[in-house]
Amino acid sequence: MSDNIQLEKIDDYRWRIPKSYKPGMRVPGLIYADEKLLKSIYQDRALEQVANVAFLPGIVNNSLAMPDIHWGYGFPIGGVAATDIEEGGVISPGGVGFDINCGVRMLRTDLKYDDIKDKLKDLVYALFSNVPSGVGSKGDIRVSAKEERQILVKGAKWAVENGFGCQDDLECTEEFGAVQGADPEAVSERAYERGKAQSGTLGSGNHFLEIQVIDQLYDSRLCDEFGLDLGQITLMIHSGSRGFGYQICEDYVKNMVHCLQKYNINVPDRQLACAPVNSTEGKLYLGAMRCAANYAWANRQCLMYLARQSFEKVLGSSWQKLGMHLIYDVTHNIAKIEKYTIDGKEKNLCVHRKGATRAFGPDHPALPERYKKTGQPVIIPGDMGRNSYLLVGTKKAEEETFGSTCHGAGRVKSRTASTRTTNLNTLLKELESKGIIVKASGRNTLVEEAPSAYKDVNDVVNVVHNAGISKRVCRMRPLGVIKG
């Protein structure tokens, strides 16, 4: 509970934790939420974590929280913090998380609901058998040790070069599928061991692959630009860097716990362990984290290849003929070095997005030509029973939130509480009544991931849209769900 925190209302969608709340806070906390979402936010300790993040050396403007914020470890999930590198700003592995570059990609198709309604079950089963999922799942895409190092540097480009996609896919991926500056030498042998054989695997927990249908359009001009219309079938893939990323985070949290004393850093939670970005430890982590980020982009590229293959098999047509083009791929667990103007000066900041999505507006230099006019596509998955969204980034996000927005619905109920209160058969019936077919690897995954365990993504998106830090394009509802 966060009852002891008195928030100051700025407007209907912005709330402040004053710097005076806790001695040691370097900046205020700024929470994007409305009155309804605040009620659930108050129920756990996420707000305290927003205040804790404000202790990080070099943090600028605000410790930010998106409306899907919930209690994490160290950083809240849904937290954004930027530190000024030239002013001793730090990087914190806990501010990225164990699943480095956990992210989501969305594909369009030329198919309409009527084209697949009789084949939906076949598609779900084909995806389930073709895409390895579940804990410790191993993929058919095997690579040599030498190739694994190439994946860490080339990311999704490695996958495309090996026949798992096309050049267009790279243009439609954040960082064009590979962040620069990956340093395979900064990766432990154990991380390599944990990562091998997991390329092209979905993973477990909240990771999923969904067949969706567009059920609402918000901006017809933008929908036209993206080639999207009502009733059109889309696909969404949510996965990350698997055991490879977990090990890198673990290695560097362990290392950076000792940096707190070395660099005289005072933080209220050891999981916020950090080091100056420009220190040896900071640079090594950044190099290793980028390897995991690239591994995840290669992974999602391989997953998309397997998904396209499944559609080809069931529908008897090539993915190109089915119009299965990638709209965009975004990461929501990462630290990036980005330029912003702070107090009139251009600064290099280390932007941590822990459960938050980059949301650059039109004309941003990081965007491919095709999205310069629209702004960056932002993909927001919801729970398996309600909706998901396509949004675009805005200039306002660049001004206010270091170009960031929400990343999903956000949990509201613990896994144990969800398991206690959800009956599997009732849940399956409820999903069936909505026309949703589900296949899952883990027995417990479905009840743990029940829609009632999440906030309503519609409420979350409503806040980021009305606050102007991203803009609604269209909404999807799930038809077929594959869970890890």
């Binding site: 209690w71 804990v135 613990s414 896994r415 417990n444």
Partner: protein, 138 residues
């Protein structure tokens, strides 16, 4: 009876373990990982694998997190589920143990534990009882 309690956490899973000895505390916490994340199925691969786990740290809390993370990491890298743990030597700064693992394919996995975290970590001795609380990222 379970040798641990589950603590509520919105996104992740916390546990509380107790024991009259540090050795028992570490063993109970290590085996709690197996209990939370897996369910035994029919044994198809009966071979047992003995893995030496050695960790050191500046204090008992860091040692506890390092220990749990090493178990998780080896379990994932070797595709093993640890069914028993024999601690050969333990102090507040050092642990040396043998973890006995069974092939992961003998188990159904319920939840993937990614790592143990320092968030709200507690390892304390009160009277003659050791108690620890830790939150796992799942």
């Amino acid at each position: 009876m379970k040798n641990y309690e589950v603590l509520e956490h919105t996104a992740d899973i916390g546990i509380r373990v107790k024991s009259s000895s540090l050795e028992g505390l570490f063993r109970n916490a290590g085996l709690a990982i197996t209990d939370i994340s897996t369910e035994k199925q029919k044994t198809q691969y009966p071979e047992k694998h003995k893995i030496v786990i050695t960790q050191k740290a500046d204090n008992v809390e860091e040692l506890f997190v390092n220990w749990l993370n090493e178990l998780l990491s080896v379990s994932s890298a070797e595709a093993l589920i640890f069914e028993d743990i024999k601690i050969s030597q333990i102090t507040e700064n050092f642990v040396d143990a043998i973890a006995i693992g069974s092939d992961m394919r003998n188990y159904k996995t319920n939840v993937e534990i990614k790592a143990a975290t320092y968030h709200q970590l507690k390892v304390q001795k009160s009277g003659s009882l050791w108690q620890a609380e830790v939150i796992f990222d799942v």
